[in-house]
Symmetry: C2
Subunit: 477 residues, 2 copies
């Protein structure tokens, strides 16, 4: 790859405006040229031949491991990532302090259907849950989801454990839509049930599989409601419990776990690494992923994949010899999983510093074969990005649609933080079929990540940063 | 699903010509309507909720197992598939006899670098190879591939073992292109080396991974050259052998295996299942996959996936309530892997019977997330298929391009077989990143197939059969 760097640098610096393949897009000129074809090819070639994402992910998963906010592993991951990206030709690498809650799972959870022999259910406390304060025994009542809860009254639920059993809708081709449609039972189910006098909740794991892993995830308590303990159970055990209730007419459950939130928040960090823009150093294109994970598995797809892909963007810029016009900034956010303090802190500080952001890009949908980007932007901005399809479809990138971007970058566009009215957000959109097989479970491990798929994602991120940087002026009109 | 069947049947029968979403495509009208949207949605819903591909594949892989032509398992697979599709509402199910060679691997192959301790190489004979007739010991000479062989002369190679070490090009986004570019060293390498007096060949496994599996595959001997034994070695061992030769300047190899081709061909079968067309029963849309596999792993992706997807097409037609206008015919071909006698026999018999084929569709690129179809057709025909993208992109199907279709259906378009000059061919095109990780190796097992990805492929095949059947007249003009 090295041999080609010099002339690519020359070409990249040569011209703003395309000479070839100019098309009309509304009132605007089309937005890529033959130089871009060469640069993008070089980015993908480098990633597929010498890409470092896979080996970096191996280190992050196998040497450091799972890394919930507040854990030693989370701090080790920050330190490791800092050292690595300092070698990647960055102009500035620094930590940004973040205050966040520290939730601790405690001992292995025990949840079972009571009886002569008892039936143990594969379970885990939801992140943020209070403990059961010793064994919590109560009758269980099954509801299909948050909507179904409204069909009951306090008399039905008071003193009981509510079992939310709404499955993800397998018919959704985009599994994230299925997730979004029923995640509220996990996040808000406890407080809603508490309003009816429930003493605890069990939630069906959010996966399209029937499997034996409890899938964890965040939950929160609404102020003014009593805090009751919440755990997920595997989808197979959810089916077993549901059948048990149907057969027996009733069931009693014992929940027992001692998770807790530490009294004081911890001080941790976001990791930031920049390459200064050659023309507009004050304008920023930020791209990132979250370096924390759940305390299950190894956080390989969520979001080890995004973490190493974003690190790889910096390496690819160096290897291919791309000098950005605007400042490109990688952020590895802390605490996306249980509080999003990293994303919120970054946006708040950016506002305080009056920093000008052109665009924010996130990779947090797993290390699968990339298909494009989901774009939170004006229709004109989406159309500009979509106009690159002709350049990108040979790399399997064809999805450029208006949609959700990501948790970490969302706060940048909140009214109270937004500096630039033209700021737009994008999320890398990989093939979504396998994501929830692993999500937030002990099965989210390195072995379930494919090398080529992962490296293609890093190349896709680098390509998008390159194009937005080169054609930034189209998005600010 | 059942509830919706009746009105869908009504709607499907209602109209040939679209009322909604009509666009101009060259001189032709656009080619789908709102009824199609409903039918396709029902097909995908049924596949994602009640799809049987995954469970069928589990049976085929775990109960029957690998199934090379001539083996008892290959016959068991035919018998099983026949029983299954007879339950799927087919009008006619029958076997078509096929004569094919029977190659037998024999004992576990032994290949090693000679020396005080010897270095064992993970190897397997290539399908069709002759035995080594006891230990075959010779000096090895490494060549980069078929082209590189031409840089040598008889004096360099006579009496030696040629080691073909051309890797698949990782830069190709479509891994099948990388495979196609270097598969000749496996298929023809032995006979080409024999022309230089070589006594045996070793071939680097065709995978983009560095792994420990020898990947087998077919090879053939050119008449008039001496038949020398041929084996593949794992990519990791290919790297080790190459380094050994570089370090030592030379290496001697011992190859020892006793595979052979049975003296007499075996009589086996293609399995055929039809639903008779309601309007044009004499016109056929054929879709298929190969039921044989290599004698490695379980033939899960290659081509158990295609096999169960094609069986599923019949079930989906029944469940959704689609009555085809033309006869739709599933063929499970025997012997794709080492001789393609099934595909050749089918095409030959079709010619003899003067059967009219509109289109042939194949699934033989693994059970991965489907992205579209590779189409061997006229530009006009490709454009017609591509015009369905608006209907299909919400299912992740966006790739509708001119290209190679598949081994089994290829003979239908050979001049000597072709009855219909308008016949066109299509191959399901799934995401290609992982295919060669497993291809022809002991790692091609059920566990490496994802349920949703597999079922989506079956739904994609059914959808394409439905659309070609409904709009068949567009392709015959």
């Amino acid at each position: 790859m090295k041999l080609r760097n010099n002339w690519i640098i020359l070409l990249v610096g040569f011209t703003h405006v395309a000479s070839a393949q100019v098309e009309v897009l509304g009132e605007r000129e089309k937005t890529y040229d033959t130089v871009d074809s060469l640069v993008v090819r070089s980015v993908f070639d480098e990633a597929l031949i010498n890409g470092k994402s896979y080996n970096q992910l191996n280190y992050l998963c196998k040497v450091i491991g799972k890394r919930i906010t507040g854990s030693q592993q989370a701090e080790d991951a920050l330190e490791w990532a800092q050292k690595e990206v300092e070698r990647y030709g960055t102009d500035r690498v620094y930590m940004q302090s973040v205050e966040a809650e520290h939730w601790i799972r405690g001992d292995k959870e025990r949840v079972s259907i009571d009886g002569d022999r008892g039936i143990s259910l594969k379970s885990c406390a939801l992140g943020g849950s209070v403990s059961t304060n010793g064994p919590l025994q109560a009758q269980v009542i099954e509801v299909k989801g948050m909507e179904d809860l409204k069909n009951y009254n306090v008399g039905d639920i008071k003193g009981k454990i509510v079992f939310y059993n709404e499955p993800m809708d397998k018919k959704k081709i985009n599994t994230f839509e299925a997730y979004g449609a029923c995640v509220s039972q996990r996040y808000s189910g406890a407080s809603e049930a508490a309003k009816y006098g429930a003493v605890g909740v069990l939630v069906r794991s959010l996966t399209t599989l029937t499997d034996d892993f409890p899938h964890t995830g965040s939950m929160g308590y609404t102020s003014g409601t009593s805090k009751i303990p919440a755990a997920s159970i595997s989808t197979r055990d959810a089916d077993i419990l549901s059948q048990y209730i149907a057969d027996s007419g009733t069931a009693n459950i014992t929940m027992n776990f001692n998770c807790y939130t530490a009294e004081n928040p911890v001080t941790t960090h976001n990791l930031i690494a920049e390459i200064t823009g050659s023309e507009n150093p004050e304008q920023i294109i930020v791209f990132g992923a979250h370096i924390d994970s759940w305390d299950k598995g190894e956080g390989a797809h969520d979001d080890g994949a995004g973490t190493v892909q974003c690190m790889e963007v910096l390496r690819l810029f160096r290897e291919v010899g791309i000098r950005p016009r605007n400042t490109i900034r990688m952020v590895l956010y802390m605490n996306e999983e249980n509080g999003n303090r990293g994303g919120k802190t970054y946006a708040h500080r950016a506002k305080l510093a009056n920093e000008s952001h052109i665009c924010a890009i996130e990779s947090d949908r797993g290390g699968f074969s990339p298909r494009g980007f989901s774009i939170d932007a004006t229709s004109d901005q989406v159309a500009h990005v979509a106009s690159w399809e002709g350049l990108l479809e040979e790399y399997g990138l064809h999805f450029f649609k208006k949609g959700y971007s990501g948790v970490d970058i969302g706060p940048l566009k909140n009214k109270e933080n937004q500096v630039d009215s033209n700021l737009f957000l994008m999320g890398l959109y990989p093939d979504p079929q396998r994501y929830f097989d692993y999500h937030h479970s002990d099965d989210d491990v390195f072995e379930n990540v494919n090398q080529r798929e992962l490296e293609l994602g890093g190349a896709s991120m680098a390509t998008m940063v390159y194009l937005v940087d080169k054609y930034w002026y189209l998005f600010s009109r």
